[in-house]
């Protein structure tokens, strides 16, 4: 695929399974196991892979928090947060077309 169009550039990772939901749930910082629960059964292998991909794309940051029990937090970068606006539109689209019966 020729990557001349901007949508196509983004589609390679935005169109991957789980990406949509991951970014959605990262509207607040989350831990790995939190994401696993929120996403309702995503495989840890897939989740790891997707988080690495989104980190590489500059959408999120992985941060090791050295508290009592050391843990890892994933949070959106500025670029990722800016993308959430798009999801808010998506959310409105869904409420327009899915909240009531037929359209």
């Amino acid at each position: 695929m020729k990557l001349t169009c901007p949508i196509e550039k983004a589609a390679s990772f935005l169109g991957a399974k789980w990406t949509l939901e991951i970014i959605y749930f990262l509207q607040e910082p989350r831990r790995f196991c939190e994401l696993q629960e929120l996403l309702g059964g995503i495989n840890p292998v897939t989740l790891t892979q997707r988080l690495k991909l989104l980190e590489a794309e500059g959408i999120l940051n992985r941060e090791v928090v050295p508290d009592a029990q050391r843990h890892v937090e994933y949070e959106l970068t500025a670029k990722g947060k800016d993308l959430v606006a798009v999801y808010q539109d998506l959310s409105m689209w869904v409420s327009r077309w899915y909240t009531e019966e037929a359209h």
Copy 2:
């Protein structure tokens, strides 16, 4: 996954491979073979499957046009067109973050 949140409802098909690009290119009605070319090498099996899925979701219509050489056109429904607005936002996000060098 509990389907309580609107994004999750939509994510099952919006988050499938190629869906993003298909809807993008359907901003104008397209034929099967046109989509194949535009999408740059999507497998016809996958394309057929995705078009059926999006038709079932009410995002697009499949129409047989009985012209000289009978052909098929795929075009967005009102619901699908309404979704394009979301993609326009996505497009702006991409131009903000991808047109220039680092951010």
